[in-house]
Amino acid sequence: MAMIRGHAVHTAARSGLFNCHGCRLLVRRPSADGQMLVRCPRCGTRLHLRKPNSIARTWALLIAAMIFYIPANLLPVTITTYLGSTQPDTIMSGVIFFMQTGSWGIALIIFVASIVVPIAKLIVLIGLLVSVQRRSHWRPAERTRLYRITELVGRWSMLDVFVVTVLVALVRLGYLTTIEAGSGVVYFAAVVVITMIAAMTFDPRLIWDALEKNDESPAH
């Protein structure tokens, strides 16, 4: 049944139940509110009604990711030396290299994984945070699905980090050509890891809490 806003909805939080993040066990919330540390009797995970400080932590991680995103794209990720001449490559010039050599499929894969996915992920997570903070009622199911896709796809940005590793390992000293890793790859790896953690820190249940009346929305 579609749940219309304002009607009684049976959520775990409203029923006074913790939904364990580790094993999904529903645990009755102790009546005394002063309880600080409640652990799941089945798997030992710390219980919260909502992920603690979800909005502030996700914002902090996203801002850090945005800052790292700049050097990740401006600094070279690989430095190729061929017959004495050095050529630094950024993520984007790597994509252009594949386009020029006619490997359109590979160019597209790297472009999507290294440029489209991180930017889309930042935009989606910021959009979700703003919508939750404004207590938006707009299409909660679609926003939740968007979150789910973001969380699922984000890992694939690690692709370029792996490509650099394999290139560096294969093309070693002693050859006419050598490839070295550039510092851009450090920032890029940081962006991928930080945005993955940011997606995990965001609590999609906050999207649905906004549909309930203000005074009834649960605190963590």
């Binding site: 049944m1 749940m3 909805v9 049976h10 959520t11 775990a12 939080a13 029923s15 939904n19 993040h21 580790g22 094993c23 999904r24 066990l25 529903l26 089945r42 798997c43 030992g44 995970t45 290299f97 050599t101 490997s103 590979i106 894969i109 790297i110 199911a141 939740t144 699905r145 979150y147 789910r148 969380e151 890992r155 694939w156 690690m158 692709l159 980090v161 792996f162 490509v163 650099v164 590793t165 394999v166 290139l167 560096v168 390992a169 294969l170 093309v171 070693r172 050859y175 006419l176 070295e180 890793a181 450090v186 790896a189 993955m196 995990m200 999609p204 249940r205 999207i207 649905w208 809490d209």
Partner: protein, 201 residues
């Protein structure tokens, strides 16, 4: 003890746990998130897959990944050489990240599953099995073998004009490992295993 109620972890809606037809999954009726799955053989399948995965993982470590042939010399590469070279270039952080996501985390994940599921199949349990199972579930998004494999393919295309690249034994066992981990993601029904653990209480 069977759990009768389950709450969606994405929208918090409570659902009554209903018996599912074999090999199917239940989704949240409000937001569509996965709630639970019913694979009658989830323990046996996941255990067999995890053991296979560990064997493949060992093979992938021993044999060379790729050989690069250029100007008459052959260079063989394993995952470890790649990370060693990265750390030599003062990229220790990235090297550790690559080592973790492509090697150590998949190993720990598979090892934790075997640790929990093998005794469970035989009707025993080992200490800290709940913690081990929770660890395996938490590590899932950080096991990136499939992305690493794609990374290898991209690098091979990039180097195709530079040298002849010969795929090694490890590459094929690594492909097997990717398939094994994908199957575990499909057939592992955590709710069934948690409930099985509850029977010990």
């Amino acid at each position: 003890m069977t759990q009768t109620l389950i709450a969606c972890h994405e929208c918090d809606l409570i659902h009554r746990v209903q018996p599912l037809p074999e090999n199917s999954k239940a989704r949240c009726r409000r937001c569509g998130a996965l709630l639970y799955a019913h694979f009658p053989n989830t323990i046996e399948w996941s255990l067999d897959l995890a053991i296979t995965g560990l064997v493949l993982r060992v093979i992938a470590n021993i044999y060379p990944f790729l050989s690069l042939e250029s100007q008459g010399t052959v260079l063989e590469t394993t995952i470890i050489t790649g990370t060693i070279i990265l750390s030599e270039q003062s990229m220790a952080g990235v090297a550790i990240l690559v080592l973790l996501t492509s090697m150590l985390i998949p190993c720990i994940l598979l090892g934790a599953l075997v640790y929990v599921l093998w005794p469970m199949k035989l009707g025993h349990r080992l200490p800290a099995n709940r913690r081990a199972f929770r660890l395996a579930l938490t590590l899932r998004p950080w096991s990136m073998t499939e992305i690493f494999l794609l990374g290898i393919l991209v690098s091979v295309v990039k180097l195709a004009k530079l040298a002849t690249i010969i795929p090694g034994t490890a590459l094929f066992s690594f492909l097997g490992l990717v398939l094994v981990l994908a199957s575990i993601n499909t057939f592992l029904a955590p709710q069934t295993i948690w409930e099985k653990m509850d029977e010990w209480r």
